[in-house]
C-alpha cells in the first residue's frame, strides 16, 4: 500500500506511533524495522546502536538509538520483550535503513511477551494505512517537502 507516496508492504504489521513495522516470524519472534515514513522524518541515518542482545526491553523503552544529521532519537519498542537479535550489518552500513528499510535494513528481532494479547494493536492493510495517514496528519507531514522536513525535524 502507498500512503502519501511512501510504501508500506501489505504483509507487515505497523506501530504508527513509533514509525516501525513488525513482522511475525515462525518462531514467535518479531522482526522490527523503521518504516518509509520514519526514514523520511529522520533523513540520512548515520548510525543505529541497539541495546545488547539478551536485554529485556519494556514497552515504550528504548531498544536503541538512531543518529541522523541533526540529532539523535530513541527507537522505542512498541512491545515488551527480550532483544533476541540485532542487524549487525547496520553497524557498518547504517544507510541500509534508508536504502532498504523493509529488507536488509531491519533493525532488531524481539521475542515479545504476551504477543497474543497485544497483537491486534498493530494493524495490517487498510487499517494500518489509515492509522499511518492519521499519524502523518498529526505530525503536519508534508509529503511534497519530506526532505526539508527531515532536516528540520526535532
Amino acid at each position: 500500500m502507498n500512503v502519501h507516496g511512501l510504501e508500506f508492504p501489505d504483509s507487515l504489521r505497523y506501530a504508527p506511533e513509533h514509525s516501525l513495522w513488525l513482522r511475525e516470524e515462525a518462531d514467535g519472534s518479531l522482526t522490527v524495522g523503521l518504516t518509509a515514513y520514519g526514514c523520511a522524518l529522520y533523513g540520512q541515518i548515520f548510525a543505529f546502536t541497539p541495546k545488547r542482545v539478551g536485554a529485556r526491553i519494556e514497552r515504550e523503552r528504548s531498544f536503541g538509538v538512531v543518529e541522523f544529521a541533526k540529532a539523535a532519537s530513541s527507537a522505542r519498542s512498541p512491545v515488551s520483550g527480550e532483544l533476541q537479535a540485532v542487524n549487525e550489518a547496520l553497524l557498518k552500513r547504517p544507510a541500509l535503513i534508508n536504502q532498504d528499510c523493509y529488507g536488509e535494513g531491519w533493525m532488531v528481532r524481539l521475542q515479545p511477551e504476551n504477543w497474543a494479547a497485544v497483537r491486534d494493536e498493530f494493524p495490517l492493510g487498510e487499517t494500518a494505512a489509515a492509522a499511518i495517514a492519521e499519524r502523518m496528519r498529526l505530525d503536519n507531514f508534508d509529503p511534497a517537502n519530506a526532505h526539508v522536513q527531515a532536516l528540520q525535524w526535532k
Binding site: 541495546k51 519494556e58 523503552r61 528504548s62 541533526k70 540529532a71 539523535a72
Partner: protein, 124 residues
C-alpha cells in the same frame, strides 16, 4: 506499566569557550545516553558555566561551519537530560542573560551528593 529504574549518569561539563572543540560533546553524549533510557544530568561547572550564557550558547561552535552549541543543548534537553549550573560564590549572573534550557542553579553540596548517588560520573 512501571519501568525499571534507569541508570543515572552525571556529566560534569568543565570545558568552556577557551576550548570550543570540546564544548558540544558533553551535550551530544547526554542526548545519546538519554535516548538509551539513562537518567542524565549535565552539570556546568568551572569554565563550563559560561556555556549557560545565551550569547555564548548561540555563537560558540565546536566545529567550523557546524551548529551552534545551543543546538546540542536543545537536543539533550529534548531527549530528557537535566541541565544544572554551579552557583559560584562571588560570581553574579543576570538571570536574563542565561539560556532558557537551564533547569536550576545548584550548590557544590548538591553536586557532591549527586556524585555519591549516581551510577556513573563523567567529566567532559
Amino acid at each position: 506499566m512501571e519501568h525499571p529504574p534507569s541508570q543515572r549518569v552525571l556529566i560534569l561539563v568543565t570545558s568552556g569557550p577557551s576550548i570550543p572543540a570540546r564544548c558540544a560533546a558533553p551535550f551530544h553524549i547526554a542526548t545519546l545516553l538519554a535516548c538509551m533510557d539513562a537518567e542524565v544530568t549535565l552539570y556546568l561547572t568551572g569554565e563550563g558555566v559560561q556555556l549557560a550564557r545565551r550569547e555564548v550558547a548561540e555563537s560558540l561552535r565546536a566545529a567550523e561551519g557546524g551548529e551552534p552549541l545551543q543546538h546540542f543543548i536543545r537536543n539533550a534537553k529534548q531527549a530528557g537530560a537535566r541541565l544544572l549550573m554551579c552557583r559560584q560564590p562571588g560570581v553574579q549572573f543576570d538571570p536574563a542573560t542565561l539560556i532558557a534550557e537551564l533547569d536550576e542553579i545548584s550548590s557544590g553540596g548538591e553536586l557532591a551528593q549527586m556524585i555519591l548517588e549516581y551510577e556513573r560520573v563523567l567529566t567532559l
